[in-house]
């Protein structure tokens, strides 16, 4: 399979606003806010790389296991990258010689959130450590709760490089607002750098993503690139007959085969859809130019290893796509996404996140003849979303 690697940017690839971020001092507290595609992750990786080259201690903290894997694999050099909760629990154990306190499970799930109240209480009993603490480079910093930042500051961490986008929250209420992070890091609003332009998504992708922007003024949507020629890559809502799903799978495999270095993401609403697409692709055999593309899936419960340093197709649930980057994104099947009246804003936010994962192309797959609640939030303008 063709390798995908993080490539250093050319001088022409970073904008002036991104250069402002790159030039920030290696020490101190820095918060950078920007929407999807504004280059937050690449700037965070460049910062981690520079810290490593200078022999400074640092940890690159990310939201979830998938992001951790993708960051590690895309950067050629060794990246000291951790999933933020695992890292924090290890740190707590090292200091207090016991496990981090947790809240009881809720809602029938076995998952236990960290009991931040108890954590902060424990930290208040110790003297802050002022030496040998690493610089924390945090990507998707809006996904960590405010107490996380408070705890780190109380422990004596001084050097932060936090990248955040408030509009990429998927689990409302569990995350930090821009103000929360500013307060924890004792930053004035003027100290925060805002990245305003979208560099990742091609214009048609960015244009579609904008349709789902929920309008939080704290983190405005990235400005659209200007383009006057109608793009050949207008996002597509493709209707297929369920009886012809085998043909659809063949077309997906051929698309992956036409450029084996490209990573195609298929985002599904639930595990049932995820496994249907995953198995469908595994079992589909069509004539291809290259070896059959690698088809992978991932679920939080299985935590199977995922490779991001090669092309292919990754089938994941929509909730797991945060912070990842794909060349082409399929949203399948849009019929199944919950877009009831009381959930419309959440649905919009989720579509915003999913679409903004795509660099190049977005295709929505829709079963023909099936009810599709998402129609109520999909744009009707064919110059934004074509229908076939």
């Amino acid at each position: 399979m063709t390798k995908r690697r993080f490539q250093l940017p050319g001088i022409q690839d970073l904008s002036k606003e991104q250069e402002d971020v790159r030039a920030l001092p290696m020490e101190g507290q820095h918060l950078i806010v920007g929407g999807p595609g504004t280059g937050k992750s690449i700037l965070a990786l460049l910062r981690a790389r520079r810290l490593a080259q200078e022999g400074a201690q640092y940890v690159f903290l990310v939201y979830n296991h998938l992001l951790n894997e993708s960051s590690k694999q895309l950067l050629d050099e060794d990246l000291i990258s951790k999933q933020w909760q695992s890292w924090f629990m290890g740190l707590y154990r090292d200091i207090f010689k016991k496990s981090v306190p947790k809240l009881p499970p809720t809602g029938g799930s076995s998952w236990q959130d960290i009991d931040w109240g108890s954590v902060l209480e424990s930290i208040s009993t110790i003297e802050p450590e002022l030496a040998d603490l690493p610089t924390l480079v945090i990507d998707e910093g809006q996904d960590m709760p405010p107490e996380f930042y408070q705890a780190l500051v109380n422990m004596g961490f001084e050097n932060f490089f936090v990248m955040a986008d408030q509009n990429q929250q998927i689990q409302e209420g569990l995350n930090s607002t821009r103000r929360d992070i500013e307060t924890a890091l004792a930053l004035e609003t003027d100290d925060v750098i805002e990245l305003k332009n979208n560099y990742r998504n091609k214009h048609p992708v960015a244009r579609l993503a904008r349709e789902f922007y929920t309008g939080d003024p704290a983190s405005p949507p990235p400005a659209l690139p200007t383009a006057t020629i109608r793009s050949v890559k207008i996002p597509l809502c493709y209707e297929y007959d369920i009886e012809q799903i085998g043909r659809l799978m063949g077309s997906l495999l051929k698309m992956a085969d036409r450029d084996p270095s490209k990573l195609i993401g298929i985002f599904t609403y639930n595990n049932e859809d995820r496994m249907q697409y995953y198995n469908g692709l595994l079992n589909c055999n069509v004539r291809l130019d290259n070896q059959k593309p690698i088809v992978r899936t991932f679920s939080n419960s299985e935590k199977n290893a995922i490779s991001f340093d090669e092309g292919g197709i990754l089938v994941i649930n929509a909730q797991a796509c945060k912070g990842l980057e794909f060349d082409t994104v399929f949203i399948a099947d849009v019929n199944h996404f919950n877009c009831s009246d009381h959930n419309k804003d959440n649905a919009r936010r989720l579509f915003y996140v999913m679409i903004a994962r795509a660099i190049d192309r977005v295709i929505l797959l829709k079963q023909r003849g099936m009810h599709c609640p998402a129609d109520s939030i999909l744009p009707v303008d064919a110059s934004i979303l074509e229908r076939k």
């Binding site: 904008s15 790159r22 520079r50 036409r258 004539r287």
Partner: protein, 521 residues
Amino acid sequence: MSENNDLFNKVEPDEKFSPVKSWQMVTNHSNLFYMIAAGMIMPPEGFGKKYYLDTVSAFPGYLSLFPNNVSQAAVNISVSEKEHLVPCIVSLELANLSGPVKIITQQGEVKDVTFPDEVDSSCQLMLVPAPLPMNYVSSINYRSREDKLRCEKDAADFNNVDLSAYTAKTTAGAFTKLKNRVWPPQNIDVPPISIPLAVPMAAGAIMGLLLNMNTRGDLSIAAGTLAFGPESSLPELASYPVIAAMGDWLQKGGDIENADVSQKLFWGIVSRVAASKYSVDQSSAVDVAIDYLETMSSVYFDEKTRGYGERLAVDLKGILGLADSTISEIFERHPKPVSRAMTLFVLRESIEDLLEFTNPQLTEADYILAAILFSAREGWIGLSKELREFPGLNAAVTHRMADIAHRIAESKIELGQPPVRPQSLLELLSPETSSMSKIQKEAALYIARELKWECIQTRINLGKGDYHLGVTTAGIQLTLDGDVKAVITEVLEQEFMSKLCNTEITGKVDRRVREILKVAK
């Protein structure tokens, strides 16, 4: 901007006029990095949206060069836009430059003169029509060791900024020499000139990419030769009119005369894609190219050709989506080189992707046309450090890019003899007659030994006589009378050339071979 506006009317007390030892340009490190990556010292238009105010914007289209010492105000302006900018003074060696320039005299007058003969000690500032090639840079001067280190660390964040090719100096005093000179000079009226950059930038990438491809075969070598010397007449290209039209395109700066339909079509796409890099419209290169196919002018194309363009556009759009075709199936439907090159152009984004692409149906000509399209999209600035490492490439390309720009602009600026066209080892080791020369044989043997290729033979020339073959416990022994001098170890040329065609040789081995062959490293 300084408010003092009379300083060009008198000689400043801190200035001593002496013959010009070197010409200096003031900028900041970010602009300098951009110019290194772009291969040209150029005006703000060449920087896209990433130009930071410095001295090159003072007189649009001209580069402002100081004789010997620079004004401190120019230094201050060049780092005024952002705190993180580092000032740099670029020393230029202009021994090969000649042609019409403007000078601003100590009396504050603008004079049209010819460089170098008419530039005398009255010159306080020389305005040279942009661009100049980066191989004119003799050194980069930093204010302090800290600034130099900071720039070196910064450059390492980019894949196309190689500071190691330039002599670095730390000369704090150079930044504060002319303390009382204002910048920009006031009450000076110089009409702006327009500088074409799209074609030179695409041309640089075409040269670089074709050179990196020239182990693919004779056609690639011929195409590369034409890119470096567009006036050449190469019989190898006689059967490939679209490729051969490159010479005209480079010489005429984007236009080709007396072209047939295929030539017009292909080079029309190349011109538009190259120009799109410098357009405020951010439509993608693929959109620009397909739009051209769909809207081909009836002035230039007949109905049949326009029909072909429209059909190709439809197919290209299809394969960007859920088309039920592999690339091989697409190539089967589209056997023409232009169609195949366009297919690759829409399906692959980076030059590295193109270089890795293989398909048994793809001919060398298809591949060369695709490389030209990719070059137009990326420009020389889009070539990574790895692709620029080819010995002698940087100097040869940057000089030619600037030369093309001046030719198109009709500036009458002469940059001197261009550096010799770099050659691949395949070219350097190809025998001019039926067999390699002695020096080629020596170099070939070195490669074969270093890379442990099984294509070495040892030949012993023997005169007439009786030879005794004996079998001992150690093996077979040939006993010869007298002193045998003619023991020759050499490569089997055919096998060697075949291996050379299929192997990328870089670094130490490449450098050593060029030493043996006595060519540029």
